[in-house]
């Protein structure tokens, strides 16, 4: 039923209203009516409150990172820094080897993401386009791994990686995480929507599977591959427990673990430097998120509401 006619100030809408009023209360407001001022005000107060809940901690993080000491150890709180204390960053940088942490995070995130997404694309193509009799059980087997809680695998993976001699190496940090079910599924779903005609046309032109994958299917699935890459990348950069277990020396730690190291180095009290370190860990991901938020939220929401 469409009520499009109702807001129009014409005779016909008056007739429509009159006709409707026979069996429903006429007070039913049309959808786009302006709300009463009090309601609008209340909604904006709630929105401001919501925004505060999420933004205030972040504001606190970024301002504290540039506050001089006498702005931090003071009460009532000094909300706005009285001076810009960038020494917090150099303090953090000298207290802990942040250059190593950055390098380690960069190496493990880039290589781990490349490998995981690469494997995801290959297997998604296989499941979408290559003929094989036992496809369905294999697909279910791989998707089933999403039901295995990652935390339960820690202990045995540690033992396995130890037996392979990869403890405290990049290989040890990266390899156990390259198996991919979520990203594969995401990419598979998009690949299935690539039209058969295009693929068949390429086939008639004599293009083999690898050719078709590389120059037809992958370009046409690029949006989802990009989304999958972003989601995988965030997970790798933010990962905490596995790099914590598998590395044992300071020079192999990644940024999130380096943050804990910094905290113990600073005697748990130099909050300016600790917040500066936290900014260094969080800022790269925040910036990427702000730039690519549509894609990231879209990918995660699709997994939640349509999965």
């Amino acid at each position: 039923m469409s009520l499009d006619v109702r807001p129009l100030p014409t005779a016909s809408s008056a007739v429509a209203d009159a006709a409707l009023s026979a069996d429903v209360p006429t007070t039913a407001p049309p959808r786009r009516v302006r709300r009463p001022l009090a309601v609008r005000l209340a909604l904006y107060v709630l929105l401001a409150l919501t925004l505060t809940v999420f933004v205030l901690p972040l504001v606190w993080l970024f301002t504290s990172a540039v506050k001089p000491e006498h702005d931090i150890y003071v009460y009532p709180l000094q909300w706005i820094p009285t001076a810009l204390e960038l020494a917090n960053f150099s303090d953090a940088w000298t207290a802990a080897p942040f250059d190593r942490f950055f390098l380690n995070s960069l190496i493990t995130t880039v290589s781990g993401t490349t490998l995981e997404v690469g494997l995801a694309v290959l297997s998604a193509y296989a499941f979408a386009f290559v003929r094989f009799r036992w496809k369905t059980p294999l697909f279910l087997l791989m998707l089933g791994s999403m039901m295995l809680p990652g935390h339960v695998t820690l202990l045995v993976n540690y033992i396995t990686v130890g037996n392979l001699g990869w403890l405290n190496t990049y290989l040890g940090i990266v390899l156990p995480g390259i198996g991919s079910a979520f990203a594969m599924f995401l990419i598979y779903q998009q690949m299935r929507r690539v039209s058969d005609e295009v693929v068949d046309a390429a086939k008639l032109d004599g293009a083999g599977h690898l050719r078709r994958m590389w120059s037809v299917v992958i370009p046409m699935s690029r949006p989802m591959i990009l989304t999958g890459t972003l989601i995988v990348m965030f997970a790798k950069w933010n990962d905490y427990v596995w790099p914590l277990i598998v590395t044992s020396t300071v020079d192999m730690r990644t940024l999130p673990i380096g943050l804990m190291f910094l905290r113990s180095q600073e005697g748990y009290t130099n909050w300016g430097a600790i917040m500066a370190g936290t900014v260094m860990v969080a800022l790269p991901m925040l910036l990427i998120f702000f730039v690519a938020q549509r894609r990231i939220i879209g990918g995660l929401a699709a997994g939640a509401t349509k999965g």
Binding site: P149, T153, L155, P176
Partner: protein, 318 residues
Amino acid sequence: MTAVVDPPRPGQAAVAAPSRPVTRNRRRSNRREALLFGALILPNLAAILVFSYYPTIYNVVLSFMDWDMVAAAPEWIGLANYQDLFTSDDFYTVLGNTAIFTGVAVVGSLAGGLAIGQLLSQRLKFSGFTRTMAFAPHMLPGAAVGILWLFMFDPTYGLSRWFFGLFGLTSPSWTTTSDWSIWAITIAYTWQRLGFVAIIYYTAIQDLPRDVYEAAELDGARGFGLFWSITRPLLSPVTFFLTVTGIISAAQAFDIIATLTGGGPGNSSATLTWMVYEEAFQRFDVGTSAAAATVLFLVLLGVTIVQTRTAGRQVHYS
């Protein structure tokens, strides 16, 4: 493919005979396809088998063993690890902590997220900006969130002192007293998840069928009644999904606990996940850790089974 072994039926013989070489080609091409298929999925499959399936299974085996990672080989001790677990008060404390942490985080983020998702879909100015800022904490490293909240919870120089001061109260020592530590990790974790849940709800609300609302408004439903009798039931599949995934991720939350309280003081904020880590990598008691991990696995497996069972029987209104 099976044309060769099938007895030729009348009327088909004429077709089957000349197709013989084609069939052979076909079979060869099938084999090639199968080989290609294997090559394409093998690396991924191998990684999943070696680093997901095998450890989950071998973890159960280890839970019947006694090992300190130093002795040459683990020793089989049967159910002793489980007996120790289920007769120790500490383990029940840990289970209770896990239940509080998971329950409050899941229920809190669902209730708050639904309210915020509903608010965000009211076409207000700045609601786009609010959506972005609400989702941002979800993308931050848990360790960064933990350290940030550690400072906010500081009773002398943190936001907590200001917040409690607004009501004329004194801030508790969140992370250093055993009455409060469990709430410290629960609040920080819920804050990180809340915006994610809100945006998922918001997205789902955008997808709701308009005509149902128009019909309901004609029937005189509005305001909270409209929300309660239409929106809430229409969202039940999403609520269910968020509950299950919420339990699974909260039960495995680690970085916020590690950075905020380290499970302490004592074991006042230790969850099952924290215990799995602590027993294995700080006490080097492989068997106890494996047994706790197996309990965690069975609980989460139960949750997953309930999900797959129920998913098929869900209410769909469109």
